[in-house]
Every structure is written in C-alpha cells, then in structure tokens.
C-alpha cells in the first residue's frame, strides 16, 4: 500500500519540481539562519564584530552554493531527462522509427540507449510478425482458392460424369430388353455387371456430390431439434426398420446448433449402418444424450457386428470399406460424410472402442447459448440454488441416462444387457 502511495506521489511531483522545492527550502533555511544569527548577535553584543562579518560571508556563500547547485542540477539532470521523456513519449505514441538521442549524464544516456535497444527489438519483432501475418494471409487465400476449386471440381464432375454413365447403364439395359432370349446366360451376366457397375458409379458420384456440398450452403447453423432430425431419419428408413425388425430407443433429444437436412443425414447414416451390419439378430439402437458443456454429447449404440478398434479412425475416411461388397452394400461414404457434417457444425465424432456389444459412436454438437447452465455462462461465482439447476437439467436433458436398461458412458458402470 505504501509503495503505491509513494508511486502516486512521485507521479504527482515531477523531479524538477521536487528539486525546485528543495532548493527553495534550502534558500529559505539559509535566509532564516542569517536573519536569526544576526538578531542573536545584535542582541548579544549590540555591535558588529569581525565574527559577524565571517558569519555573513559564510551565509552568503551557503546561499550562492544552494542557488548554483539548483541551477547545475537543472542543467545536467532535469533538462536531459525532460528531453529524453519527450523523445520516449514520441516512441510510445507509435513513432518507432524515432531514434532517441540525448546528451547528458551517463545515467541518462544509458537509459536512452536502453530505450533505443527496446525500440529496435520491438521494430524487429513487428517486422517478423508482419511477415508471418503476410505468409498466413497468403496461405489462407491459397487454401480458400484450392478449396473452391476442389468443390467446383466435385460439383462439375458429378454432373458431367452422370451423363456417360447413364448411357452405359441405359443401353446395356436396352440391349438386354431388346435381345432377351437371343442371348445366352453368360451374355445376360455381362450386361448385369455393366449395369451394376454403372449404377454403383452413379451412387459414388452422388455421394461425392453430397460430401462436397457440406458447408457450401450459405445458411448459418440455427436452432434445430435433434428429435425432429432423428424422427425424419427414422421415417426415411422406415422400410428397412420394418424389414429388419429393428427397435430404436431414445428419450427426448435436445435442440442443437445445426442445419436440419445435414443433421437428418447424420442420424440416417448412423442408423442405416446399424440396420445394415446386423449379425443376423434384430437391430437394437439406443440413443442417449448428456451435457458436456458447451456441447451436447450424443451416444449412439447398437448391437451390430461392431467395429474392430483397429479401424476406429479408418472408418471415417472417404470410401473406406471394411467388408467385401458382396456381404454389405454401400459406397463407404456414410461415416466420412457424417464426420464432415459434425465437424462443420463444430462438433466431434468418434468410435467408442470400450463398447463391445456392438458399435457405439459418440458425437458432440454445440449447445445453443440459452441452454448452457448459468455456471458455464457466468463462471463459478454465480450462486444458484442447486435444486434449481437440477430442475433445469431434468427439463433440458431428460434422456434416460440413469436407467439401468440403457447403455452407460465410458467410465460408468455398465449394466446394460
């Protein structure tokens, strides 16, 4: 506290003024000494003596010394300091190229030299950071350009590749239809392969187009009901769900920041995998959600054939397939597309390798600001009744995490049968 006060005082009293006051005080003091001495001498002796003269000479000498000392201090210290301060202020105001040149005592010139060194270092670092910024900017531009080119390429290729493909498929079919009965079984098989190849190529192109389109829409992520997205995904797959006798268990799913069509695609891709990679038994899918602020953490579990932890990352690579085509159909884009969509929204998706009953994907989606708990918004200082928070949690995240017949998150006791 005293240190601060002293610093304040120093700020209020510049050195020149302190010196001025000190000199003035000394001056007053010496005048007072002379006057008091004179009065004392006069009252003691009534007349001037030789001692008087000596005293007066001494007093005048003292006076002169004090005045000279003040003037000298002013010339050698205060002026150079003031000049230095003026120049440093110019530098501080942004004129970093202003060299600080001051003549004066060693302390002042060495301070000026230090300021110059600092100034040069700042200049140097500024140049370096400006250079780095320029490089970054150039790289960002380059990246943007190549990205745009890539998207354009995927889009154009997808359109222009469809045309010849359509010809291959259509005319093979036409051949089959026209000359049915005139060809042998082998010829029919050839045609079948040609048609199948063309159709598969078309599926790949369409998937590639869908993949390249993620993030191209000008729409901003908005409040989207993940419940509605899941419902739509289930409706889109209704036929397969019925065919396989699948069950989908879920509680109420929250609002997230996303785009509805893309979120539907996320659920549809995951669900479609669960329906496809069954080990013969009816698929059972359980979707739960919990808070992981500022995200909702979704868990998507099934009882499918599962995925070897070794392939936990590879499954998210475009057109990567783990099974031969004859066993499971598909282009191998589903999870790559899902990851691209989720990352576009700012979330993450990964395979939970601790889950061995089937496959379990965990993914996060950003929580709308209004859903965040006060803690997350205002910091730990905001006091709020814990039962309030508990109530809010129950309203916002009533997904049945705590029920024993639902899968738990890693680290939880797994009671799921």
């Amino acid at each position: 506290m005293t240190g601060t006060k002293r610093a304040d005082a120093a700020r209020r009293w510049p050195l020149s003024q302190v010196v001025g006051v000190a000199v003035l005080a000394l001056l007053l003091f010496s005048v007072a000494v002379v006057v008091i001495g004179e009065i004392a001498l006069v009252s003691a002796h009534g007349t001037r003596t030789a001692l008087d003269t000596v005293f007066i000479v001494l007093a005048i000498g003292l006076l002169l010394t004090v005045v000279l000392l003040g003037l000298g201090l002013r010339a050698t210290v205060i002026r150079p300091l003031r000049r230095l301060a003026g120049q440093v202020r110019q530098v501080a105001d942004g004129d970093l190229f202003r060299e600080v040149t001051v003549r004066g005592p060693r302390e002042v010139t060495s301070l000026a030299a230090d300021v110059n060194t600092m100034r040069e270092r700042i200049l140097h670092e500024l140049a370096a950071s400006q250079g780095a910024n320029a490089v970054l900017r150039a790289q960002a531009e380059e990246l943007q350009r190549s990205n745009a080119e890539l998207e354009q390429f995927a889009y154009v290729a997808s359109h222009d590749l469809q045309e010849p493909l359509r010809k291959v498929a259509s005319f093979s079919q036409l051949l089959q239809r026209r000359y049915a009965g005139q060809l042998d079984a082998r010829a029919d098989q050839y045609i079948e392969y040609a048609v199948d190849g063309a159709k598969r190529m078309q599926a790949l192109i369409n998937d590639l187009l869908a993949y390249s389109r993620v993030g191209r829409s000008a729409r901003e992520p908005a409040l989207v009901s993940s419940d509605a997205a899941l419902t739509q995904a289930r409706a889109n797959l209704a036929e397969q769900i019925e065919e396989t006798g699948a069950t989908v268990e879920t509680g109420h799913l929250p609002l997230v920041l996303a785009e509805l069509p893309l979120l539907i695609a996320v659920f549809q891709n995951l669900l479609s995998n669960s329906l496809k990679f069954t080990g013969g038994k009816p698929p059972r899918v359980v979707i739960t959600v919990r808070r992981d602020e500022p995200f909702w953490l979704f868990s998507f579990s099934d009882n499918s054939i599962g995925i070897d932890p070794e392939y936990a990352e590879r499954i998210f690579v475009l057109f990567q397939r783990l099974n031969e085509r004859s066993a499971f159909a598909g282009t191998g884009i589903g999870l790559a597309l899902t990851r691209k969509i989720i990352e576009y929204f700012g979330g993450r998706i990964w395979l939970d390798t601790t889950w061995t009953e089937g496959a379990r994907f965990l993914f996060t989606l950003p929580m709308p600001e209004e859903t965040l708990t006060p803690d997350a918004i205002q910091g730990p200082d905001s006091a709020r009744a814990p039962q309030d928070r508990q109530a809010a949690r129950l309203i916002e995240a009533p997904a049945p995490l705590d029920q024993p017949d639902h899968p738990q998150y890693p680290g939880d006791e797994d009671t799921n049968g």
Partner: protein, 147 residues
C-alpha cells in the same frame, strides 16, 4: 374424368444434342406404343426454326409438346425457353425441361421462365422410358391443352 384426349396424332419436339437420349426416347415411344410423332433437333437455333417454320423446317408441324434439354450447344435450353415464352404464338405450347441436371438453380430458373415441368432424366433405362411415358400421358392425354 373429363377426357381431352385428342384422337389425332400429336407432334412432340425434342431439343437435345444427345443422340443417345433421342434414341432412348424413340425406344420409349416405340415400347409404349405411343402414337405421337417424335421430332428431334439438336440445338436451340434449330428448335426456333422448327417452331417458326423457317429455314429447312418450312414444312414442320406445330408441336403439341416440347421436351427441352437445359445443356444445349450455343444457346442454352434456358435461353430458348425464355424466347419461346416471349413469343405469343409459341408460349401456349407446354415445355418440359428434360435434363440430366438436378441443380437447384436450373430448376428455379426453369420455372421462373415459365417452364411447365422440370424432369431429371433417370439413370435407369426402365425409369427413363417410364418418365417419357408419364410425360406423354400427362401432357398429351390427361390434360386439356389449347387447340
């Protein structure tokens, strides 16, 4: 059902530079025994000449339906469409945009230029000829057109 089906044969003009598609459309007509006559021209210039009976098409019939591809050489299908719909003589002829494109902007632009329908050419041959049959059935059998 009110039947507007015209007993006489109707001429259909197809504007497509793709011979394969023209052939497939012919096959579709043949397969479904569509009695209507299919005429094919390969670009927008010829299409307008055909419709205005100029140049080599002085004896061309007036079509009752136009199948117009979006991606045409020189003048695009959309330009041809715009011109057709500005011509008081020709604007009553229904135009079906029949194209490979499924691009949203093509669809929107087609309809804002008063196309009567936008149909994406199906990849599968069966679906393709079925689409042709349905277009023919809808515009030339089901709906009532101005005479």
């Amino acid at each position: 059902m009110a039947d507007c089906a015209d007993p006489k044969v109707i001429d259909v003009l197809m504007v497509d530079d793709d011979d394969g598609d023209a052939l497939m459309t012919r096959e579709a007509f043949e397969y479904y025994k569509i009695r209507n006559r299919l005429h094919v021209v390969s670009d927008g210039e010829q299409a307008l000449q055909f419709l205005r009976r100029t140049g080599p098409f002085a004896d061309a019939p007036r079509p009752g339906l136009i199948l117009l591809d979006v991606n045409l050489p020189r003048r695009s299908g959309l330009e041809v469409l715009a011109e057709l719909k500005q011509d008081p003589e020709l604007l009553v002829i229904p135009v079906v945009m029949l194209t490979t494109s499924r691009a949203e902007e093509d669809i929107v632009r087609s309809y804002s230029l008063h196309a009567n329908a936008f149909v994406s050419k199906p990849v599968d041959f069966e679906h393709f000829i079925e689409a042709i049959r349905q277009i023919d059935n809808f515009f030339l059998t089901l709906v009532c057109l101005p005479g």
